[in-house]
Subunit: 420 residues, 2 copies
Amino acid sequence: MSSRPAPFGLFGAAAGSAIFQLIREAGPLARADIGRITGLSKSTVSQHVERLLRLGLVTEEPDARYPAGRKRKQLVFNESAGYVVAIDLGATSVDIALCDLGASVLEHRELLDVAVSDGPQRVLGRIVEQVDDLLAKHAITPDQLYGMGMGVPGPVEFSTGHPIHPPIMPGWHKYPIKEFLTERYGCLVYIDNDVNVMAVGEAKYGAGVGVENQLFVKIGSGIGCGVILGGRLYRGTHGCAGDIGHISLRGNEELCSCGNRGCLEAIASGRALSRLGTRLAMDGESFELAQVLTQKGTVSAEDIAYLARRGDPLSLSLLRMSGQAIGEVLAGIINFINPSLIVVGGGVSKSGQRLIATIKEVILSKSTPLATSTLEVVPSKLGGMAGVIGAAALVVDEVFSQERVFAMVNQEGMPSAGGD
Amino acid sequence: MSSRPAPFGLFGAAAGSAIFQLIREAGPLARADIGRITGLSKSTVSQHVERLLRLGLVTEEPDARYPAGRKRKQLVFNESAGYVVAIDLGATSVDIALCDLGASVLEHRELLDVAVSDGPQRVLGRIVEQVDDLLAKHAITPDQLYGMGMGVPGPVEFSTGHPIHPPIMPGWHKYPIKEFLTERYGCLVYIDNDVNVMAVGEAKYGAGVGVENQLFVKIGSGIGCGVILGGRLYRGTHGCAGDIGHISLRGNEELCSCGNRGCLEAIASGRALSRLGTRLAMDGESFELAQVLTQKGTVSAEDIAYLARRGDPLSLSLLRMSGQAIGEVLAGIINFINPSLIVVGGGVSKSGQRLIATIKEVILSKSTPLATSTLEVVPSKLGGMAGVIGAAALVVDEVFSQERVFAMVNQEGMPSAGGD
């Protein structure tokens, strides 16, 4: 034993998994670095590293900082040891990506000819078709496919992977997506709400890297929020944490799709903007909006954002009202949960800087000074890729959970098919 | 290794601390139970148990379920191995309790002749006087005093134990309470916000035992909330999580003590009720309230609660307005954090069932059905003792944190560090 005591629990077999996690999260690392960080002896480190090399979970590469002659080597997590498939099921499109174990996208496909409202059979059929093709094209064997992750646009019971009364997903209530994919591909499968998945993507690889407590707010046709606390996705008791779209605002009597009145979503979402814009156009309140209505038969949130950028006062006031309402709700949430960061994403958020500026302004005026003293509000970094990257990150994290790594390292085996 | 694999990390020295935590949290347990639960061999369990017995951290007692002749024994956490002092600093009183390591109160004293506004020197002087007396009376030696926990009525930076601009604690901003007590008593000292401390008390020993995600809402002269997520107190990025008193409500223009307008606290707290009641009494709106004002010179929240119970319509409507506003704010919070339980405490909450009933009614009508499907809203179980019991629980948990238990158990020197 070296002079530095090893941290709690870092003994025997546990050391092997700890060394692997260290390489995965903080690598590349030389063997000596690992000894220094863990306090384990040179021979103990070597013993475990040899096993990780044999398992193919890490590789040892020359350290580029030293001349070739010196032969200094570093241990690197072998991101190519396996693959995951990430799926982002949107309202009117499906994104599918083949990723390595570092959640890097190797190939990405976007299906625009399939909508979630087509129902599970048709949608899953199209997904399977593409996944089969991706696996064949990249010559990936069943034992190389470690897992699949999928985000869906509705509430999901995470443990079972079943959608629960998803409003915009007719036919999907309690549909056994997880069982279906597990049976077909024999790998780990995780299904979650799309906003949760995007929050994980931004937190791991996007605008929120390294931030302990952060919220991902999606402003699209609906409004939702993914909650990352202590660096981990928080789902709540029934898996519906982050449902800010149905927080109601005093004095707001708009009827919401949920049946209640006054919900944030009923005045601030893309759907609400479209409805309110159409109403104003029909009432002849705005010449510009009326023109759009005549041309297209409807006014979309994108139309309003476009007209706002061109200076149309009513479109500007619609976006301002949306930002104001979202800001008010977030101000309360910020007092309550005291995060360090708010990442704003979703289609409507891309309409320009004005919406995020209004949201920030309201937060600063309505949240307490202590809660906002170091708070940042920033746009999404991953944009439309947040869903697939998040789905990949979600499943990779599950594949390399403490328990699974422990089993992998000690059974000299890879995660077995369906080994949950 | 036995036929059942031991859980992750349960090897070598780590097993000793794991066995101790198991006995502390799930005891009394027979040695055979420990073997069954951990998967460790009989001889390994025995070896560690003997050490815990020698250290005095556990005792072995006859199992009362068996006749004396059978000599079946159980291992029990030795709650008398040491002591902690718990302090609840209120606005106009101080509660001090000597507790054992099970957070059971051995002696409790309430000082009513000292107010937090007297400033740190006088208040801490009075506390030290009582603590010294308690320790002497119970013949507790310095090495038997494991720690001190204290709740204070204002924001606290937990890591330093410094109050940060506490509005009702003049002279306490950044006062080194923790350093002062550590230097004097040479034990672990933890200072936290009073509502956080109460939340821990209710979660560990009160209305919230065994519930993963719960909120403790204090309705007193102010309004605050303690947030327990995944069974642990969540403090947020700056330690100010749970600050629901300054969430603002649209259409509410009351000036708050924080300088903002429209805060929940400005219309729903005990202080707000008192101010609104006094105003109504002066305006001659209510004969009953005017009578109280004439007799006492002011109308307190307790007076309003008393008159409401006697049927005074204006007092009833004040309480209803308070419950309505608190319910609206909580409804939003519930959608966002999806807890299983809300525990309501604090002076005003004791005014009768009516307030909690109104709060429940608003929550059910404004939160989503999924978020409230199994939600319970219950009154505090520990009442006025939540603060001291919580402070004791907080410090006991820190005393027996994984790292500290590991150090305690290994002080003697464990066998084969690094071996299985």
